[in-house]
């Protein structure tokens, strides 16, 4: 059976000593964590290891001996090292020795109770201790629910190094009885700025939590729950977005430390996303308010609304004539056309009533862009919805009329054939009608059938306009969702410190020499950018598409009202 020794590359130039680490017997591999130098007292070493084991819950023990002789091999040292094997009894006892500056080390194993005296092959795997300690292994999703005996043996190695952090806290300047060499033995590094930020963040978090609790208390108060206001809040997407961001702020400002890696990354992602959002929002705001661009915007708003209304009026005049050469029913045409024209007239009057206040309203509303770019985009989407409210009304009227007509036609068609819809059994049954019922039914059927093209045309035109508005709003919401859910911190981490997010490992075969063990270098294989986005995506409050294309077309054909964008809190119908 092959024996694998995982040796930290920082210990390659360490002085002679004994190797401590963890022996994983199921995999026949030894993970070496540090080298303890001479002189040491064996009892103290065992005590120290016992303490480390208690704190880290990793079974650290003495695995073997390491000899780094600058000159030729010292015979007495090798005997001494073998004798050490009797003091710290460990099965098998690994002996690694390096001569001078040679890259090729000799590695041998001592088996005291060897029942099988065959030569075991040894593989020496070098690993970068700091990177393996900081790295987080991302298992593929289907094996995430495995038990302790799962197929990933590498996670055991990563786990061992990550949990032994307390072992790496003693450096060579410590006045202890044990002298260790590991990646931090030249001195534990820390940054003053990071420590200051940590100290400052505690009161900042407490203040933020207090403010947020006040704010959410106000939002939840009974005053804002009355019927017209609550309906308004649910329809405006700005309020949803603000609520979503408030939730995010609450997550970020909580004082509890994140329990595991995923929660920590989530908090960091939310924090960076909020920061970038607010920065972009302030940038937008400064651009809007410089040179009074917002005033110009307000000035062009009314003419644009007027222009849209005029275009609609032209469209209706066209429909009232002979649109595309089709011949419409004159009376119904005039009724519908005049009805919609009156609506537009009302709408224009309301807009003109509001026109002196538009600039001021827009100026104050534009200030809320400092809350974030997403809020500004949501406000834009809401403004579009409000400005095209008449198109929405026309769509609803046209759809309802068309829907009624279709239902009437289908029911009378069944009467025509002598059938009836059985509501109790939810199926079509045959039914014998009286003569007068048949007569009136046929008359109504004919009337509805010949009025169908007119209604259908109005419905078609207004549905297309409504879909146009919905597509524009949908694009804006897509952008908002993108900014909301993109895990920016994880992406930047993948760019700058790619070893922190590991998808696996990769091995590189180093120079070999016959008779010496196989030398491999284990490096971290970082997660791909697509994998990072998929793993750390922030959840958003909307999910779409609501209907598949087939059901959407069916709804359009039958005249049912469509709401293509669904929010997570909505009930399914």
């Amino acid at each position: 059976m092959v024996l694998k020794v995982f040796f930290p590359s920082c210990c390659s130039s360490a002085d002679s000593g004994i190797l401590i680490g963890r022996w994983i017997s199921e995999q026949n591999s030894a993970v070496i964590l540090a080298v303890v130098h001479f002189p040491f007292i064996p009892v103290q070493v065992k005590q120290y290891l016992g303490e480390v084991q208690r704190v880290t819950k990793v079974s650290v023990s003495v695995l073997g001996s390491w000899s780094n002789s600058k000159q030729e091999k010292e015979e007495s040292l090798s005997e001494f090292l073998e004798d050490l094997g009797t003091i710290f009894c460990h099965e098998p006892w690994i002996q690694i020795s390096k001569e001078g500056d040679s890259k090729f080390w000799s590695c041998s194993i001592l088996q005291k109770h060897s029942k099988k005296p065959q030569e075991e092959e040894i593989i020496l795997v070098y690993y970068d201790q700091r990177k393996v300690m900081l790295s987080h292994l991302h298992p593929p999703l289907d094996t995430a629910g495995q038990g302790a005996e799962d197929a990933s043996k590498l996670s055991a190695i990563f786990d061992t190094v990550a949990r032994s952090q307390v072992l790496f806290m003693t450096d060579r300047y410590d006045e202890g009885p044990i002298k260790l060499t590991h990646w931090q033995s030249d001195g534990v590094e820390a940054s003053i700025i990071v420590e200051l930020l940590k100290q400052a963040s505690v009161p900042a978090c407490m203040l933020l939590t207090f403010l947020l609790s006040l704010l959410s208390g106000i939002c939840r108060s009974r005053v804002l729950k009355f019927w017209p206001l609550s309906f308004l809040w649910s329809k405006l997407s700005t309020c949803e977005q603000l609520g979503h961001r408030l939730q995010h702020l609450q997550v970020v400002s909580s004082n509890k430390k994140a329990p595991n890696q995923n929660q920590l990354m989530r908090k960091a992602n939310i924090f960076v996303s909020l920061l970038i959002d607010v920065a972009l929002g302030i940038l937008l705001m400064s651009w809007l308010y410089r040179k009074n661009r917002i005033g110009h915007l307000a000035d062009t708003l009314i003419p644009v609304a007027d222009h849209v209304a005029e275009e609609l009026q032209d469209l209706l005049q066209w429909l009232m004539g002979a649109p595309a050469g089709l011949k419409m029913n004159r009376a119904l045409d005039q009724v519908l056309g005049r009805f919609f024209l009156y609506h537009i007239h009302l709408w224009i009057s309301y807009i003109h009533l509001l026109s002196p206040f538009i600039e001021m309203i827009l100026w104050y509303v534009g200030l809320s862009a400092c809350l974030g770019l997403t809020v500004a985009l949501c406000i834009l989407s809401d403004i579009i919805a409000l400005l095209t409210f008449h198109i929405y009304c026309f769509y609803v009227y046209g759809a309802r009329l068309y829907c009624l007509k279709i239902y009437g036609l289908s029911s009378l068609w069944r009467l025509f054939r002598g059938k009836k819809w059985n509501v109790l059994r939810q199926r079509v049954d045959s039914c014998s009608y009286d003569l007068d019922q048949l007569f009136i039914g046929t008359l109504l059927f004919t009337i509805l059938l010949f009025l169908l093209p007119t209604t259908a045309l109005y419905y078609l035109v207004f549905t297309l306009l409504r879909l146009l508005v919905v597509i524009v709003q949908g694009l804006i919401h897509l952008l908002v969702d993108l900014i909301d859910s993109l895990p920016l911190y994880s992406l930047i981490l993948r760019l700058c410190r790619s070893y922190r997010l590991a998808a696996g490992v990769k091995f590189r075969v180093l120079e070999q020499q016959d008779g010496k063990p196989l030398r491999l270098l284990m490096q971290i294989n970082p997660l791909s950018y697509g994998g990072v986005v998929q793993t750390y995506r922030l959840p958003t409050y909307s999910c779409y598409p609501r209907d598949s294309w087939a059901s959407l077309c069916k709804k359009l054909f039958l005249g049912e009202l469509i709401y293509p964008w669904k929010h997570k809190g909505d009930k399914q119908n």
Partner: protein, 188 residues
């Protein structure tokens, strides 16, 4: 100990198989495809630039020419970095696992390491590709729940597509190492 042999790929392009034995339980098998030919590169560039000159002659806008140069450069970089695979290699380390590497023409390497516990077997499969039947080598991954089942099939050498003779060599090398794990006594 390295040796190199020439074979043909499924589309008739010459490829080279290089075998290296690093130790008794470690082997590296690399299949190298042909390098980017100057001929095809000049042909593609000339075609794009001729089309650009034609457009320029029609619309007298010099932006077309700069756009063509830009497109050629970006297209070449994307091709070398994401599309053209120079070498695909398989590193089999008994008792550790199998590592599959693809080296692109720009020097980028994309690696996947599969642990030995997950590997059920390495086999040669047949596939119907357009109008041909081709052979390909693949790694069968063990299903954790079902010891007889296969959870995933990982195809190897997908861009160089060696023919059966080359695949048999690779297969024999892999199986020699995979057999060692069956004969070696399992430690408790």
């Amino acid at each position: 100990m390295a040796e190199e042999r020439r074979f043909l790929s499924a589309s008739g392009v010459p490829i080279a198989l290089r075998r290296r034995q690093h130790s008794a339980s470690c082997r590296e098998l690399a299949v190298r495809g042909p390098r980017l030919q100057l001929r095809s590169l000049s042909a593609a560039t000339s075609a794009v630039w001729l089309a650009a000159y034609g457009l320029f002659a029609l619309c007298e806008n010099s932006m077309v020419l700069s756009a063509a140069i830009f497109v050629t450069l970006i297209g070449l970089i994307i091709y070398l970095h994401f599309v053209k695979i120079d070498q695909e290699s398989l590193l089999v380390i008994g008792s550790l696992g199998i590592q599959v590497t693809s080296a692109y023409a720009s020097g980028k390497e994309s690696t996947t390491f599969i642990e030995m516990g997950q590997v059920k077997d390495v086999v040669i499969n047949e596939a119907i590709h357009m109008q041909k039947v081709i052979y390909y080598l693949c790694i069968l991954l063990q299903d954790p729940e079902d010891p007889q089942g296969v959870s995933e099939v990982v195809p190897l050498f997908q861009s160089s597509k060696p023919r059966l003779d080359c695949l048999i060599e690779v297969y024999k090398s892999c199986q020699e190492i995979l057999e060692q794990r069956k004969t070696a006594p399992q430690s408790s």
